[in-house]
């Protein structure tokens, strides 16, 4: 698999993301935000975490207008797979490639910790290695992860199996982490080729770092 990893001014998870996919045996290529096209023959675009453009105005609001994002939109609209992690999720919602928006955490804190997540749907290219209801342990690190969508949008997400992950306790019950609507931690688009989540699977690939649950998430894209 060949993975393109985007890099904006302020991105800081691009090397972790490259490391993660290379550890799983894939090739990666960094793509600068001013590039107007994506590398040839890629299988996945990852919009990694960080603080693109200093999170000025709103997280992700400026990055979405960078030249490379035009290419990403086209790639996604042609059916290409795109994964946004943390700031990448914020950028994809700002770009309109994913529904909803991410607000400031309810408690106004930057939250950085390991968090349990419940897998909600597996009929997609991302979580197909997981089982529905499975509990994963993945780190989160964000200030603006409070997912918002209106009632109508939420109904649509549920009807189309677009909710990917929810924050939960160790028993699997929904838990309030940042104020997200119904504890949503990740969603995909209707066509199920664009994915976004606040947690960082690329930081959960080694026992020494506390969890290997990220492996089966990222491996989903192999099939």
């Amino acid at each position: 698999m060949k993975v393109a990893v985007l890099r904006f001014p302020g991105t800081n998870c691009e090397f972790d993301t490259q490391y993660a996919f290379e550890k799983l045996g894939h090739s990666t290529e960094l793509v600068w935000h001013e590039d107007e096209s994506l590398p040839a023959n890629i299988d996945l675009v990852v919009v990694p975490g960080g603080f693109s453009y200093g999170d000025y105005l709103r997280s992700g609001s400026i990055a979405r207008f960078s030249p490379v994002m035009k290419a990403v939109s086209k790639y996604a609209n042609d059916g290409g797979k795109v994964l946004g992690i943390c700031n990448g999720f914020q950028i994809l919602t700002e770009a309109g490639l994913l529904p909803g928006a991410l607000k400031r955490n309810n408690n106004l804190h930057f939250i950085s910790k390991h968090q349990t997540l419940r897998v909600e749907n597996t009929d997609n290219a991302f979580l197909n290695q997981c089982t529905k209801g499975e509990i994963l342990n993945i780190p989160i690190a964000h200030a603006d992860g409070n997912y918002y969508i209106d009632d109508e949008g939420l109904k649509e997400l549920e009807a189309n199996n677009q909710v990917l992950l929810r924050y939960c306790d160790s028993e699997g019950n929904n838990t309030v982490v940042n104020g997200s609507v119904t504890s949503i931690a990740g969603v995909c688009n209707k066509d199920k080729n664009v994915f976004g989540l606040m947690p960082h699977p690329e930081r959960a690939l080694e026992d020494i770092l506390g969890s290997v649950d990220g492996v089966k998430m990222l491996k989903g894209f192999e099939s």
């Binding site: 919602t93 309810n106 408690n107």
Partner: protein
């Protein structure tokens, strides 16, 4: 001309910053505050003298970049 844009979270969208400020005002003994909403003000200096044109342009700026209309509303005031 000057355009003053106020961007704030939509009614019904919980404003955690407003809530925290409200709580702080309560703690400080300011009574009778029923709600606090925090937004941001964006001040634009425009070269045009045409008010209608300015208003239309600023509206487009809001829809495109300055506000995220999924969660935010905005108001525009044009001053000569």
């Amino acid at each position: 001309m000057t355009a003053i844009v106020n961007v704030y979270l939509k009614e019904g969208v919980l404003d955690p910053q407003g809530k925290a400020a409200h709580h702080a005002l309560d703690s400080l003994g300011f009574e009778g505050v029923e709600d606090v909403r925090i937004g941001k003000q964006i001040v634009l200096q425009l070269s045009t003298d045409d008010k209608a044109k300015a208003e239309a342009e600023v509206k487009e700026m809001c829809e495109t970049l300055l506000a995220n209309t999924v969660i935010e509303d905005y108001s525009i005031e044009i001053r000569a």
